[in-house]
């Protein structure tokens, strides 16, 4: 009975077609599935990388594991992401940058191993000094100043 009513009203048919078209053309059904299946952190890691590109995953883990509530220097050796692209993930406005902590992403030739967990960091010809490796994943490093 209800179906008949819907069918009789032309506008409803047009609306159903419009609904299907709009939802289909921007993959809304797939997007609904993705949002339900993966939480926001997983989605951010998927599109910004764990230890590649802007490396949201690694930065997020460093901040979470070390309960960091300040800005720390983030250096990215990937030529497409050398500017500030990765800073904003954990940026605190008007909080100074702690120069004793550095996150180095997508390292190519920026560190020179002194021993197993101590490195000398030189990024874009700027010598940063000696740092202790606090966390390492692939080519991403969380470094703390070696006092």
């Amino acid at each position: 009975m209800n179906l008949k009513k819907i069918y009789k009203n032309k506008n409803n048919i047009y609306l159903i077609i419009a609904f299907l078209f709009i939802m289909h053309q921007s993959n809304s059904f797939k997007n609904l599935f993705i949002i339900n299946k993966f939480d926001i952190t997983e989605r951010l890691v998927k599109y910004s990388g764990y230890c590649e590109n802007a490396s949201y995953g690694f930065i997020n883990d460093v901040y979470k594991e070390n309960l960091i509530k300040e800005n720390i220097e983030i250096l990215n050796d990937n030529p497409n992401f050398t500017f500030n692209n990765s800073i904003w993930f954990k940026y605190y406005t008007n909080v100074e940058i702690d120069k004793n902590k550095i996150i180095l992403l997508n390292n190519k030739n920026s560190i020179y191993y002194i021993d197993n967990d101590t490195v000398k960091l030189t990024f874009k010809k700027k010598v940063y000094g000696i740092y202790k490796i606090s966390k390492k994943f692939d080519n991403c490093f969380y470094l703390e100043k070696n006092d």
Partner: protein, 432 residues
């Protein structure tokens, strides 16, 4: 599921918030002269509220209070809301909601910020979200010379969200962007079903990923459409104070969304210049106010930051003597090629060119569409000139990544002509 509920909540917030202040049975009685449709009222409210946000961005206070204040007023306004006007447009409203939902889902699925957004705009947003004002922008990364209005809006809606992620603040851009299309067709004399088909086609054609990745272009796109729609609505009736006030608000907002807004505003003035229904006296007053707005913006930037940049940071014009030097002239083929790519990339341009050619052939009246023709020619020339006249040696890179976006943000204006063309030649022919 929580995220989806949050999306729905924010979409409802957009609908409620921007229904205030004008859609009120008492105010509407006074605005009977203006013959405003629901989407035009929403656009007018957007101009009012964005102007209020622009003003409040200069003060340091918790933006959540601002949000709650306006939202409470908007909720109260629902008791005096003119629901009849909504009932008339129920199908377009449903279509708007569907598009809004589908694009919001897309943003939520890919919470990604593109280059300019991740190195510039997001820091301004974070500044406002942390309850700092305009003055503090000099302490955050990114170009201090870029205007901030869009980022304030972004911060406000991010703060209003139950989920603390930046992408939630960007749904409002989609809302304003989509609403501009509906404003375009609000008063057109075509049937609802044709309206809906037209809307679906033009929104699909105009869609670009720029919309999703945190750029300010969608906002500029919408405000440009609203500006020209307002000019088009001016008739011989007297005392259209609301239209002129909104036009001034709109011009001011254009200046505060992006740096090139200044040039865009100059180009948009063609529509005022060629509008016969606006008297010369009012034209002069409007132009004077626009110049004053530009000067006010310039002085605010000089006062707070000691600089007023045009284009990107470090942008400088080449010397006049170099305008036609061989070295600079060599840029032309590349820029023309980039323009050609952009025109193909955004079908609105192709559609506009086709419509204007057919219109010129059929009507044989060049003067009638002079405003659009001049806007188009100057718009293309302006986009090229930005890269042609710079001393920056990396002009080629800037043109590659920026020229299409510059042309995208003004492309909405051509929709007004396309719509007028379709109304005259297709929909009306069918009726006859």
């Amino acid at each position: 599921m929580i995220e989806i509920l949050n999306i729905l909540y924010l979409l409802v917030v957009c609908f409620v918030m921007f229904s205030f202040p004008l859609n009120n049975i008492y105010i509407k009685k006074k605005l009977i002269n203006y013959n405003l449709g629901i989407f035009e009222i929403y656009s007018a409210n957007i101009l009012f509220l964005l102007t209020l946000f622009l003003f409040s961005s200069f003060f340091n206070f918790n933006i959540i209070y601002l949000f709650f204040t306006i939202f409470s007023f908007a909720l109260l306004n629902l008791f005096f809301f003119d629901w009849k006007i909504c009932k008339k447009q129920i199908i377009p409203l449903i279509i708007l909601f569907l598009f809004l939902l589908s694009y919001s889902l897309e943003i939520s699925t890919y919470p990604y910020l593109d280059w300019d957004a991740s190195v510039n705009w997001i820091f301004k947003t974070l500044n406002f979200k942390s309850n700092y004002g305009f003055e503090n922008l000099k302490n955050v990364p990114g170009y201090v010379g870029y205007p901030h209005l869009g980022t304030y809006l972004w911060a406000l809606f991010w703060k209003a969200s139950f989920i603390d992620y930046e992408y939630t603040g960007r749904f409002v851009f989609i809302f304003i962007y989509l609403l501009s299309f509906f404003t375009l067709v609000d008063n057109s004399k075509i049937s609802t079903i044709n309206k809906v088909i037209l809307l679906i086609v033009i929104i699909t054609i105009c869609f670009d990923k720029i919309l999703l990745y945190g750029y300010q272009e969608p906002l500029m796109f919408s405000v440009c459409i609203i500006f020209v729609t307002l000019v088009e609505k001016i008739t011989n009736k007297k005392n259209l104070y609301l239209n002129y006030t909104l036009l001034i608000f709109c011009a001011n907002l254009i200046l505060w969304i992006k740096n090139e807004g200044m040039l865009i505003l100059v180009l948009l003035n063609f529509f005022i210049l060629f509008k016969k229904q606006i008297t010369n006296k009012i034209k002069i007053i409007l132009f004077s106010i626009f110049i004053a707005l530009i000067l006010i913006k310039k002085n605010i930037f000089l006062f707070y930051f000691g600089q007023f940049i045009f284009g990107w940071e470090g942008y400088e014009f080449i010397a006049i003597s170099d305008f036609f030097s061989f070295e600079v002239l060599q840029r032309l083929p590349f820029l023309i090629y980039q323009i050609a790519i952009t025109i193909v990339k955004y079908p609105i341009y192709l559609l506009f060119i086709a419509c204007i050619l057919i219109s010129l052939i059929k009507e044989k009246n060049f003067i009638k569409n002079l405003d659009f023709i001049l806007f188009f020619l100057f718009n293309i020339s302006m986009a090229m000139a930005i890269f042609y006249l710079t001393t920056d040696l990396s002009w080629k890179h800037h043109a590659k990544v920026g020229l299409d976006r510059i042309l995208y943000q003004t492309s909405g204006v051509y929709l007004i002509f396309i719509l007028r063309f379709l109304e005259n030649f297709i929909f009306n022919n069918k009726k006859n």
